[in-house]
Symmetry: C2
Subunit: 128 residues, 2 copies
């Protein structure tokens, strides 16, 4: 009668099984989904957490920021977790730069795939 597949499982499937072909190369642990692999549900889920919304909003104001520059009220490991969710959902791109990771918003990719979505979310997040 039903598929017996939970939301999380579906998201995990599209985020972990579809991802590899794009950037699971050799030693790079930072694999991002290709533009066409970005899933709407995964993006919305990634944005539905206040902490991550804050990160994205901060990144919109100033790009290429390091993880630690956000001063979030959580520990480093939790921070890592949130950045990974954002990266695997296709919202941000992380580039290794020495001992830090430079984060940037994937504005163009997102705007091609889901026109207007990121902008409206950012605008909504800003005024409050």
């Amino acid at each position: 009668m039903n598929t017996h597949v939970t939301q999380g499982q579906a998201i995990a499937a599209t985020a972990r099984l579809v991802e590899p072909p794009s950037k699971l190369d050799e030693q790079d642990p930072l694999c991002h989904p290709a533009r066409d692999e970005i899933e709407l549900a995964a993006v919305l889920h990634a944005l539905s957490d206040p902490m991550r919304l804050r990160i994205v909003a901060g990144l919109a104001r100033e790009d290429k920021r390091t993880c630690g520059s956000f001063d979030l009220p959580v520990t480093k490991s939790t921070c890592t977790h949130h950045f990974r969710v954002l990266r695997e959902a296709g919202l941000i791109r992380q580039r290794l730069e020495g001992t830090t990771r430079l984060n940037s918003l994937r504005r163009e990719d997102l705007d091609v795939r889901f026109p207007g979505l990121l902008e409206s979310v950012l605008q909504a997040a800003e005024r409050r």
Copy 2:
């Protein structure tokens, strides 16, 4: 060092504690958040589930539909759950009509509160 408040707790707080003043009248169990009480994170969370996204998309194509008219691959109780999440997030309005509930998208309220957001999500959900 941190607030120790999880995402769910925060959403629940804004969805259940802020809600009452709006429409927790006498015998009406269908309480909707007022327009100004609609929370971005709650909206995004509500939309991040494929089943609920499907409901919203279907409601966008044809308004004022009954719960059973969606033919979702889940049981009735699960269906009730999803409609409640959507209602409490402020995405839909449910009106009692005899033995059924008529569901309609709160397009105007959402567009005033988060301009362009619903439209871009609907557009993104549609083409695929």
